[in-house]
Symmetry: C2
């Protein structure tokens, strides 16, 4: 669809990067992002309206995090079915406000509308950054390290519990459902990463790790050779319990808001220190390679990563 | 709901004005606005997807027009039912692009989502203005003139044709339906008005003329004494034909995107020249008064305006 649109002369990033940016003046960019949460595909069973509204903020903040930009202001446009009560709308307002406050931003406007059936929350975020700070998707170079800000697979496992009725002991359930209901954007990590000036490309993993790597690969014209895939012991236990492939869970899940970045190897220890100082962690998982393929080495086995992404789940309305 | 949200320290306009604004630096504001078009309540029978998408842009541009700010960039978030085809989405993309181009802006990003039943298009607009140029709702003073950029009632009449099956001859139908399907935002007029520095308060009339006046009255702490109510000969003819009150049509309709402004009387001729030079027109309809009431004098009769607004129509989904 984007080829049908006329190009803005002042556009700084190509359509399709995590955020859009416009020149404000010689040194600064205005950064904007708009993303929508839809009841049918983004609100799993058991998620409260407060959590859904907070998630509508988090999915957008995550894109700002990937570019290393602090969101300042949020507009929230709501469309909701007629059966929602005043208390429900208050829960939504409080969830939006809570999400904004967590990440140092403010809801400064928006509108409410009635729709036929589904809850739809569109948040638009606005921020300002220095031109040289914004991390694009397109700067990864062969030899760079690939790194991530957390482990993968929890949300895939959690959604299997909720949508496919796979069972798990209570303590496992609790751990695997937490990031489904209360996802976190890696904003502190993203801001710290941008400040180092040593990150060559960055994206968030909201559509799954494999898909994020594929997007970076397309934008930078490189490939990836992964040597490790961080997963939690809970995901491993859940996979064993149900005979699932832990790599599948970690690679092709989605709705996980880790950052996937490439880093100049000489700056690695500085980058790691910066993220740890910000209260986060960063794990090296492989290298950028010249060949346009994505592989994961597990013991002696070489797995080819497929360019497939997370398909939003769909419940009956 | 807005009382549940924490206030941004840098917010320049109160929540509820036509747009939101943030300080960029000493002299400039970033202006943002997000408004949603919902199939159920904003897309009347016979409106094409192209027109619906264009309208989603126009309703937002109209708010920028009221504040005298040029929109630069648009983000478009779509949620659409699964039955929409690729060609339908292309029509939507082209409609968004056409609306943007008409008003000198660009669509620079957005996202697409699947929803259960209804079409939902949220546009978020971004612009920059000088602090002293932005026209608020709160500056109307007793003695100021009240003026509007066009006539009222066409859309009310058009919607009665479409939703209540009222009949009209073809030439009348054509005239009354045109602004329903192809609404226009008064951006040139709004920019010209802001440049004069003589407009004390401004709002667009998207929720109806009476409601817009009520909003200005609340924000400025004043009342309005109207002495004329501009309507087209077609609206008058349609009203006669169906025994409708032409003032009702003009006052309590909606989806009309005229600007409603108050002007320092000493600057009136300068304001009029500026709007006409921009290719528009502006009509005086009354005066700002100290008493917090809104009246319309018709011959010897004094009509009290009610603070009621346009209720979005609702079709069966």
């Amino acid at each position: 669809m984007t080829d049908l649109l006329e190009k803005a002369p002042t556009r700084f990033l190509p359509i399709g990067d995590d955020v859009s940016a416009l020149e404000l003046d010689q040194d600064r960019l205005a950064v904007v992002k708009s993303d929508t949460l839809v009841g049918k595909t983004d609100v799993p069973p058991g998620m409260s309206l407060w959590q859904a509204a907070r998630k509508a903020v988090v999915i957008n903040v995550s894109d700002f995090a990937a570019k290393g930009v602090q969101p300042l202001a949020i507009l929230a446009s709501l469309a909701f079915p007629p059966h929602l009560r005043k208390e429900d709308l208050e829960q939504i307002a409080r969830g939006l406000g809570a999400g904004a406050a967590e990440y140092g931003a403010y809801v400064i406007g928006g509108d409410t509308n009635e729709t036929a059936v589904d809850l739809v929350i569109t948040c638009s975020l606005f921020g300002i950054c220095r031109k040289d700070e914004l991390i694009k998707r397109s700067g990864a170079k062969p030899g760079d390290l690939v790194a991530v800000t957390g482990t993968f697979g929890e949300v895939s496992a959690g959604l299997k519990i909720l949508l496919e009725n796979l069972d798990a002991p209570a303590r496992l359930k609790e751990k695997l459902l937490a990031p489904v209901y209360m996802p976190n954007a890696r904003l502190r990590e993203g801001l710290a990463l941008a400040e180092t000036g040593l990150v060559t490309a960055s994206i968030d993993s909201s559509d799954g790790l494999a898909w994020s790597l594929y997007e970076l690969s397309e934008a930078s014209g490189v490939g990836f050779s992964l040597t490790s895939l961080p997963t939690s012991s809970e995901v491993q236990e859940f996979a064993r319990m149900h005979g699932l492939d832990v790599h599948e869970l970690a690679l092709y899940g989605g709705e996980e808001f880790e950052l996937v970045v490439t880093v100049n190897p000489e700056g690695w220890s500085q980058v790691r220190r910066a993220v740890e100082k910000a209260g986060g962690s960063i794990l090296q998982i492989g290298r950028v390679v010249e060949e346009r393929e994505m592989t994961l080495k597990v013991g002696k086995e070489l797995i080819m990563l497929e360019p497939k992404g997370f398909q939003h789940f769909s419940q009956a309305p």
